[in-house]
Symmetry: C2
Subunit: 444 residues, 2 copies
């Protein structure tokens, strides 16, 4: 934190994330001129030391840096270009424009095209979606995935570094759109693993397992994911109203994934299933509530009030099934995400590093991801020598989980989709590596 | 109908289907000694001219024919063998035993094994599940899929012929279990197409289409299925309570499919998705209601009260999307069913004939099924020369449907699963035949 007065930054979108980011910039001595369409957000920002702007143009005028942190591409388009007092026309020559919203890569690319067409190629545009939640936004320790021209990235670096954790600022090769693509493939993991946590906890409860014991067993196991660890705590106390991360937020990100998958005609079997279940949750009115509340799609009663009926060896076997269910789903999620990353030409080693250190991380992604990347690069040895499990073994585990769920009539959308993907892959042989076999379902 | 007094037939399971079947046998002059655990069913049967039995053993004693029409394999096992006054010990030497319940093929095979082990190999056992509903049961015009020894099929033929429509008695080669397998693969079509009808009507309503116009457009189109035609009428008037065919019934049949798929480690991506959605419907209390009520998973309000908002060209485009959505799902259903039929060694031409003439029929099954069978038999020309559509064209249609659904936030489980299966297949080339490409996802 510096007490020296720094430059002025324009900012729009002062919601939970944006407010944290903007006030973090204030803490570092920047003057931040913020705008939001919702007056109470603007008032709160002013109380925290920000300069409230009277319009988007007002927030942009005179600042050599501008951070756009609205919720969607539609909002960004309107704020940047379409609004009668939009941001772009008001920006000074040579200003740096950061688009931190999660948007399709094609939208980020269209922003550059629009700037060029408007004769504003002078603006140094950076496509830099963020990840990490409101608390890390406020602490300046976000993960940021940034793409842009070398000149833009150089001039924008100090501000990106102020918003990101030291080790979590990822400059993604390939220019505008690749920041958004990196966020997108990360959200393939996040979107599947958020729902997998609900599916596992819901099935476990229906099986008669104590939810706290499930939590304890999964943490540190091969079924672990960052999302499970994070969401399960809210499930245990029904902290969904409104919770921390609304269903509508992950659904927006998942919608971007499947939209881009349609553009590329790229198969995404698991995240597509997850999207349908999230949409069902939306229909049931869960939209504004925490996404951990999706557990109610599987087990409607509060987990805190369920009575465990299993003990001893039965309990151990059941716990082990839940761990393996999560591991099986996460294995398929890792393959889907890495294959998609390759398809959009992201540097795979960077994606591997980033996801392992972010909310998309899982034990399986860490274990299997490296082998999957090698398999995609044509390493035949990886296919034939299972790193840890043969495909047949993973299939056996998932068969048992699906059998259990069918017996007690619990829907398991992801476990079923993962099993079917594994079974399609197994037609190529059951003794081969699970990791490499699954990712080879995607021909590259 | 004959007025000559015929032989005595034992019968158990006098529910909707069983009552129809038993009274049809009465009409044909047989003496039917019926048993049911539910006294009112027994009383109704007696009022219709049947002989009420006091126990399972009583229903079996002295009859050279016995029809078992209980709901599940668990019930059949108990009735045949486990009950203290079970059927098998009471049957006369050389009696013909018809198991008409829908059960896994492995269960039917276990019945033969049990008979042999009990020293009752004299009993002529026929595995003969039925299809067609209560009205056709009462009219003696069911579809029946029968497997068994030549001796059993010969001695049982007259009674099978009395229960089945003239053209709908299918003697399936391969012995005990193949009748059940034939029913099972038929129900792959039925289980997917029942839900597809709900998904299409729910999406159409959310798109603002008049449900009656959707019905009129689909009938006679490439989106037609027997199930759509049958279920849509009940959707239009909310005739779900209890309706004609309970969700629990199709869910039981679907459960047999996925159970057998797990035994064979055979991929069934679409029927597996359908099962999860049916299980969700069960969780929501729809179990005893008509399966056409699954439309409420997609559009909760009564279809009869929705107000259409589309007209003119927009309406035509939207209607065409619904037709193509159904066609795309049915295409994948046809591939899944035919591949599974091949896997369990059923005669494919017989399956094709049977399904086209039964509740699993669809325009796509009729159009594409023959080409799929040729492709499975290794006919390369079928793969390279699209019969009607290239894979790329079908993918384009399904992309547009999924895009529309995502835009209006309507879950489309089957359309999404079909799209992802088609996209996986499309990695082999988009100009090839849609039919042959999809079925080749299953390596044989």
């Amino acid at each position: 934190m510096s007490s020296t007065q720094k430059e002025s930054i324009g900012f729009c979108g002062l919601g939970a994330m944006g407010y944290g980011m903007a006030t973090n910039l204030l803490k570092h001595g920047y003057i931040v001129k913020g705008f939001d369409v919702y007056p109470p957000s603007l008032a709160r920002f002013e109380a925290a030391g920000g300069v409230p702007a009277s319009s988007l143009a007002d927030s942009a005028a005179g600042s050599m840096y501008y951070v756009c942190m609205v919720a969607t591409a539609v909002q960004a388009q309107s704020a940047l270009f379409d609004d009668e007092s939009a941001i772009v026309p008001a920006l000074p020559q040579g200003a740096v424009l950061f688009l931190c919203s999660t948007v399709p890569a094609t939208y980020a690319q269209s922003v550059q095209t629009s700037l060029d067409r408007l004769g504003r190629s002078d603006i140094l545009f950076i496509d830099c979606p963020v990840s990490g939640g409101a608390a890390r936004a406020a602490a300046g320790t976000l993960s940021i995935m940034a793409g842009g021209s070398p000149a833009a990235l150089e001039k924008g670096h100090a501000i990106l570094a102020t918003m990101a954790a030291e080790t979590k600022l990822y400059i993604v090769d390939g220019g505008i759109g690749q920041g958004s693509n990196m966020k997108m493939v990360h959200q393939v993991l996040a979107g599947i693993q958020i729902l997998a946590a609900s599916e596992a906890m819901g099935l476990a409860a229906r099986m008669g397992l104590d939810p706290r014991k499930v939590r304890d067993k999964v943490l540190g196991s091969e079924g672990w994911s960052w999302m499970f660890e994070n969401r399960v705590e809210r499930m245990l106390v029904e902290d969904f109203y409104p919770g921390v991360s609304a269903l509508t937020i992950i659904l927006k990100d998942v919608g971007i994934i499947t939209q881009m998958a349609r553009v590329y005609q790229f198969p995404t079997p698991l995240i597509s299933v997850a999207e349908q279940v999230y949409l069902q949750g939306l229909s049931q009115g869960f939209g504004p509530q925490d996404d951990a509340g999706m557990v109610r799609m599987y087990y409607p009663q509060p987990l805190s009030q369920m009575t465990a009926t299993l003990s001893g060896e039965d309990e151990e076997i059941a716990l082990s099934k839940i761990v393996r269910m999560l591991a099986g789903i996460h294995l398929c999620a890792a393959a889907e995400a890495i294959a998609f990353a390759k398809h959009v030409r992201l540097p795979l080693s960077q994606f591997y590093e980033l996801a392992n250190d972010a909310a998309g991380g899982s034990a399986m992604f860490r274990q299997a991801g490296a082998a999957m990347i090698k398999a995609l690069e044509g390493d035949e040895a990886v296919l034939d020598k299972p790193q840890r499990y043969s495909l047949g073994e993973v299939v056996e585990h998932m068969l048992r989980v699906n059998e259990e769920a069918a017996k007690i009539k619990c829907p398991v959308y992801l476990a079923s989709a993962a099993l079917n993907l594994l079974l399609l892959a197994q037609q190529g042989g059951r003794d081969k590596s699970a990791d490499a076999s699954v990712i080879r379902m995607w021909k590259q």
